[in-house]
Symmetry: C2
Subunit: 451 residues, 2 copies
């Protein structure tokens, strides 16, 4: 497998005190402000920009599900966070999660178009269907729609959004002061969408944004999720534990993209990795062990039981998982996560306590502790072997884990010719090597003229 | 009427190239970027902060209604705009409009809580019910809900939002690293709201924000609108043409607040004023005339006809309004605006052309051209005579109109002891002299302990 030089992509997935659930208990963490302190988040973004990373990313879900005892769990809504970060950065891409199940396309499409304007073309949307029932009960529903229904709604949500983002042609703003004509109304199009889930009549309030629309990112790995990604996504976040699984996922997704008539190079696959970096391998291991010792398994066991749909008492800490668990088909929540957790435990014969340790580090993502050189090797290995176009870097501890990655791992990747030495563009699409999509109306007019 | 010194409040209502509909045709305006250029908006906010104004404000509506030929009409979604402005300012209050008819309370409440965190306690919400049917058709409805229904939904929307903003007590974040307890789950409350329009089960995702909740602002002046304002609003924007009308509105609103059991001093009334400032009165008049000459009446007539529910042909430009117009009762859109427009035309015997000129300057708000001294007099006159607690400053032209106001009018108001010399607080509530509301759960616990 050969790559063009410098084409590896790196996204930093930022989460409060870090991805390890016990990270907030370390001395470097200020537990009272990690979840709501914008200066802390702006600083992390500047670090990522110093490392010339492609983008940063925030997860999101519209429900306070977790036990707040366990770890920092209050969050700010990510589109407003991105706007505040855009104001103090100039290059780093800015990706926010938003749910298609609990939003209206008109409101969300204009918010992302607005963030794209505010950031000068650096906005991305991680499209999720949201897999926890608590969210449904914050929006007047007794329970969440079925998995299938959520993805059907997501597809129509995307169709509406794409129409809205095309509703203003790029040259609709005329600004003819002498004639007193500000805009060309023939270039602002009412979309007239009437569908199963949505009816949306008008044009967006917001002129076409620098990237035409935000970068479309997706993060569900079920069958429906992969099909959705193959159809719409330009970057895909995924949790993969082994090279073989990651290769299979990678090939599968590219194949599906081809089936949708797309160039597979325009769908970038970014598996997660939770690096713990030390001056020596032993030091890195010791860092990771220290974090694992700080986990309180009681909290995690309750959540694991919820994922597996069993009672916490059925999960004695020093035994393996019970034999009779439901199959993925029976799961209406996060299907792919469920399968990943069960497979991991079975494959490695983990006790519940050990499984909790593994999930506590990266919630199902690949954890890796070692020297900067070893982390770079781990990244290059998957990249060279058809398992990834780039990585979702999920520091176990923040801010130090991101500093370590940027200051120690990035220079190695640059030296190896894998990663950029400078930003060559200013937009998120430019970082990922993706074109600004054509506006459907402008394209139709151009085709008309050509005939 | 006596006031405490320095207690006048000033909000700057920012709109693209200014409130005069022809402002974008002046040389100072860059018509291609006024609607989407965040640097332009950030600069205006910094100007307002230089003038130590209480706040800036953005209008909003989820529909592209207007003819884009007429004037800059593309807008960015204001909550993300505020977040981007928060990042480059430190004191100025930040008020965004959002509709209760076309949002979900869970999403909106957390977004405002997030902006309050991001800005260190400077967020305000201009609560509107949205009075144009185009919006309904972007959200799956054939037409807008009736005026009454919109306000009923708005009241329940507020009740849910208030519960959500109280769902985290201020001291819910514990951060006990030694014990491994991040939050006190007894201080994070599922709200369990079940009502006519909304069912919302959980707590907010977002810890209590610096102001407890955003400042609540309202801008509807119909009977239902005033009752809603009297019950919930802490500041009220209103369009009033004459001192007598403004005094009546002021007294009426304060009386209604008392009926709701509130201290009338906690409901601030801010009429709009569109100042055009010149070195001499003649120069100011000439500025205003130049602007009026740049209006193209064809656009405005179509909109006026829509407001009045007649055909544009029924509005010859050089005749007065037709005699047989509907009464306010029959209007399901913006009731108070309708009445204001009709009364203005009848009272002053304006032709359609003249009426369009008046509305083109301030869309029904009081326009005033004169020297800085005369503008200060106009402000003081209403302030001293029980018509206002402050003003909604709506510069006819931006950026120069705001510069003129800040550099020329504010110093006069300061000299007269009416306006602050320095910010004395850092939050929007402090600027407006309003307390941080008590958290209902904390209050109940305190009362419990006291017993
Ligand atoms: C890196 C990564 C980040 C994710 N972030 C979110 C998130 O912020 N919110 C969310 O609801 N789901 C998130 N997910 C989960 C999925 O997007 C999806 O909602 C869930 O897996 C259910 O889809 P599936 O059944 O197709 O897997 C994330 C997944 C991955 C791999
Ligand atoms: C200064 C001011 C600003 C307003 N801004 C908005 C706005 O941004 N969006 C909106 O839908 N209505 C806005 N309105 C209109 C009212 O809030 C309200 O929606 C409308 O007047 C209908 O309510 P009413 O019938 O009670 O008057 C504004 C009104 C005033 C006075």
């Amino acid at each position: 497998m050969t790559h063009r030089p410098g084409q590896l992509h790196l996204n930093a997935f930022l989460m409060s005190s870090g991805h390890h659930e016990a990270s907030w208990r370390l001395p470097e963490s200020d537990p009272s402000s990690v979840s709501t302190n914008i200066a802390f988040l702006q600083q992390l973004a500047l670090t990522a920009e110093r490392g010339r990373l492609d983008s940063i990313f925030f997860a999101d879900g519209p429900a306070q599900g977790r036990d707040v005892g366990r770890r920092p769990s209050g969050t700010l809504e990510p589109t407003v966070v991105l706007a505040a970060i855009a104001a103090v950065t100039s290059r780093i891409g800015l990706i926010a999660t938003a749910s298609t199940t609990y939003n209206d396309p008109y409101n969300l499409a204009r918010r992302f178009a607005s963030v794209d304007h505010i950031s000068g073309g650096r906005a991305g949307w991680n499209i999720v269907t949201t897999a926890f029932g608590e969210a449904a009960r914050n929006f007047g529903l007794a329970d969440q729609p079925s998995h299938r229904e959520r993805y059907e709604r997501a597809a129509e949500f995307l169709e509406v959004s794409l129409k809205l983002w095309d509703s203003w042609e790029a040259d609709a703003e005329v600004g003819d002061k002498a004639a007193g004509v500000w805009g060309d109304s023939s270039k602002v199009h009412a979309i007239g969408h009437v569908g199963e889930h949505f009816s949306v009549a008008g044009a967006l309030t917001t002129p076409r944004s620098p990237q035409g629309r935000p970068l479309l990112v997706q993060a569900g790995s079920s069958e429906d999720g992969k099909d959705f990604a193959a159809q719409y996504a330009e970057a895909v976040f995924t949790a993969q534990q082994t090279l073989a699984d990651a290769q299979e996922f990678y090939a599968d997704l590219k194949r599906r993209a081809v089936e949708w008539g797309r160039d597979p190079a325009t769908v970038l696959v970014l598996p997660g990795i939770v690096p713990v970096i030390g001056a020596t391998e032993a030091e890195a291991r010791e860092k990771e062990d220290e974090l694992d010792r700080l986990i309180k398994p009681e909290y995690a066991r309750v959540e694991l039981a919820k994922t597996l749909r069993v009672h916490p008492d059925d999960l004695p800490l020093d035994r393996e998982l019970p034999a009779d668990l439901p199959s993925e088909d029976e799961i209406e929540g996060a299907k792919s996560r469920y399968t990943l957790v069960v497979n991991l435990a079975r494959r490695e014969h983990l006790t519940v306590r050990q499984l909790i340790g593994r999930l506590g580090g990266g919630r199902g993502h690949r954890t890796f502790s070692g020297t900067a050189e070893q982390v770079a090797d781990a990244i290059q290995d998957w990249y060279d072997h058809g398992a990834a176009d780039g990585f979702n870097i999920m520091p176990a501890v923040l801010p130090s884990g991101l500093d370590d990655f940027v200051d120690q791992v990035v220079p190695i990747l640059v030296d190896r010719g894998l990663f950029r030495t400078e930003y060559t563009g200013t937009t998120l699409r430019e970082h990922y090597g993706l074109a600004v999509p054509e506006n459907r109306w402008t394209a139709a007019r151009t085709a008309e003229i050509a005939r």
